[in-house]
């Protein structure tokens, strides 16, 4: 590996990370704005033009708040858990391809941080590690509400991870590869057309995996205060908050890559198409939040195990039969 | 290039730590975790040998080990849960009904 290649790889990693953080900051703005308009309000307006500086103001406010470590908390795990959540959310973006390649001074630069053979599995592995951050945050806070939130989160996330994994197997069968670039290359017709049920299950599970409403039971405000991060303040809380949005962006990017044709599209350059698709998914996330009330916990578990899981299995069988019949 | 022997030694060391854990600890769940560690150590040995033999069969065995470990975890934890319901403890020294 030459020095130039290492430099390019590093630059790509840094640029993608910074862009992700920017997107995270502005998706909080987007969420407040969209929610506001859906509820016939205006959303943030005061700080900057149409409230565009609001995320920065929020960041500064959180940064200067007092950083509290609860007495009786398990200090090491208490500090470690927001880091785990954030790292797991940010590292997943590394294998998502967001464009084909660009020429810079005659150097072909592929628009992805890493092209891994097992890219899809890598994302799943990281998302399964992020469960620890949430569970341990709940446990180490030494508070009953946080503990209940953490327990709910761990049960919810491992239950829905199964259905998520099964829902994308149809796509993997069509693509014949776990490499995200191969999956994008296989989509002359978007896989959402061939796998509508798979897409539906994937999206529903994505809501549950991100702890978004209507599945935001780990942080159900009116039962658990805010659940697993009730004892966190200042930047540690901000890390959880940012991780939630980073996770949403990663899941949206994954949905775009697996089901919506990735960066491919006519006329516009690939990266613009990719951003558009991710934005559409994010908007969908927020739209659902404004529309549906929260599930009850037993409903959530029943829905996951008795509806999504068998339907996902059935989807795989039907896909297999279809592939045998129509080649 | 790391030789196969090094991986085998590492696997053996991890396995023996697991064995020592089973002897030292009295908490049923931790004992169970030590057994998982031993399984994993064996998996490492399988993969190292599969590379040195130039065949993938060893990796398939690791796949099966993982399946067995998952099944074992589900059943084992269920047993521990029902033991806890009966006796309010999971200290393995307390479960001595079959001893005389």
């Amino acid at each position: 590996m030459s020095l130039l290649a290492i430099g390019i790889a590093l630059a790509k990693a840094v640029i993608v990370f910074v862009c992700l953080l920017l997107c995270v900051a502005y998706s909080t703005w987007l969420e407040r704005k969209v929610l506001g308009h859906m509820q016939v309000r205006c959303g943030p307006l005061r700080v900057g033009w149409y409230g565009l500086l609001q995320p920065i103001a929020d960041g500064i406010k959180l940064f200067f708040k007092e950083d509290i470590v609860v007495s009786g908390a398990n200090k090491f795990l208490y500090i470690l858990s927001p880091m785990i959540v954030m790292i797991a959310a940010c590292a997943s973006i590394a294998v998502v391809p967001f464009g084909d390649y660009i020429d810079v001074f005659g150097q072909k630069i592929y628009l992805r941080v890493a092209d891994v053979d097992i890219g899809v599995l890598y994302i799943f592995a990281l998302s399964s590690l992020s469960v620890y951050g949430i569970t341990l945050a709940g446990w180490s806070s030494n508070s009953k509400y946080a503990l209940l939130g953490g327990l709910r989160a761990s049960a919810q996330m491992i239950s829905y991870e199964l259905a998520t994994g099964l829902s994308i197997i149809g796509v993997l069968m069509h693509a014949g590869s776990l490499r995200p670039t191969d999956i994008v290359a296989g989509q002359d017709i978007w896989y959402i057309v061939k796998q509508p049920i798979g897409f539906l299950i994937f999206v529903i599970c994505a809501f549950a995996e991100c702890n978004r409403s209507p599945f935001d039971l780990p942080e159900a405000e009116n039962e658990l205060v805010p659940g697993f991060h009730v004892e966190y303040s200042s930047m540690k809380f901000a890390l959880f908050f940012m991780a939630e949005y980073a996770h949403m962006i990663v899941v949206s990017a994954l949905a775009a890559t697996l089901f919506l044709g990735g960066w491919r599209g006519p006329v516009l350059p690939g990266i613009v198409w990719f951003m558009l698709k991710v934005f559409a998914m994010m908007f969908f996330f927020i739209w659902i939040r404004a529309t549906y009330p929260r599930f009850r916990y037993d409903q959530l578990m029943k829905f996951g195990w008795k509806v999504l899981f068998p339907v996902a299995l059935l989807n795989i069988v039907v896909t297999g039969i279809g592939m045998v019949i129509w080649g | 290039m790391v030789g196969t022997t090094q991986y085998l030694v590492l696997g053996a060391v991890l396995f023996c730590i697991g064995v020592a854990g089973v002897f030292i600890r009295r908490n049923a769940i931790v004992v169970f975790m030590c057994i998982e560690l031993m399984l994993s150590a064996v998996s490492l040995t399988f993969i190292a040998l599969s590379r040195s033999q130039g065949s993938i069969d060893g990796q398939i065995f690791v796949f099966f080990i993982m399946t067995v470990a998952a099944a074992e975890a589900a059943v084992g934890l269920a047993i521990i849960l029902s033991l806890y319901r009966r006796r309010q403890t999971i200290n393995v020294d307390e479960f001595d009904l079959l001893k005389w």
């Binding site: 469960v131 620890y132 491992i158 776990l178 | 730590i17 560690l37 067995v68 099944a71 059943v75 029902s82």
Partner: protein, 167 residues
């Protein structure tokens, strides 16, 4: 490079394994075991078995250990009380494990020699990728693969019968 990575991850694995059996709080033990599993997965990558590395993290760290943590939290276990004669027991256990290790190393050494005699060490020949694993799994090992599904089914039923509520 590979040598250093081996020592780094092997070292982390051994240290956290030792920590696991020494920590008295079961949650800490479980976390140490997660670290062991993740570093083992990284070692698998070094050995060219990327697929199994990912599966190792997903299955062991992501599912099995979360289940352990869940049960530990559910039972709200206190930290283990050290019994009286523990140091004696620990001494016995350590000497036993040490002897076992020596024995294992000797046997292993013999086995490696035998294997070397059988086949020359051809190291880079294995494409430890998903396709190769899948091909072998669905042809040569199809029957065992199907049998594992029965095993898993039996495990599910067993777990439900053992842990489910009795009305």
């Amino acid at each position: 490079m590979e040598q250093q990575l081996f020592w780094l991850w092997g070292g982390i694995a051994v240290i956290s394994a030792v920590m696991m059996i020494l920590k008295r709080n079961p949650v800490h033990s479980a976390l140490c075991l997660v670290v062991v599993f993740v570093s083992l997965a990284l070692l698998y990558v070094l050995l060219g078995a990327e697929f199994l590395a990912a599966v190792q993290v997903i299955v062991y760290a992501g599912a099995i250990m979360v289940l352990f943590l869940f049960v530990i939290m559910l039972l709200n276990l206190e930290t283990e009380v050290r019994s009286q004669g523990l140091s004696r027991v620990a001494f016995k256990a350590c000497s036993l494990a040490g002897t076992g290790l020596l024995l294992l190393l000797l046997l292993g050494g013999g086995a490696v020699k035998a294997l070397r005699a059988m086949a020359p060490e051809q190291v880079s020949g294995v494409p430890g990728n998903t396709q190769a694993v899948a091909e072998l799994l669905f042809t040569k090992y199809l029957l065992p693969f199907e049998v594992t599904s029965i095993l898993l089914l039996a495990a599910i039923v067993g777990a439900l019968v053992l842990a489910g509520k009795r009305d």
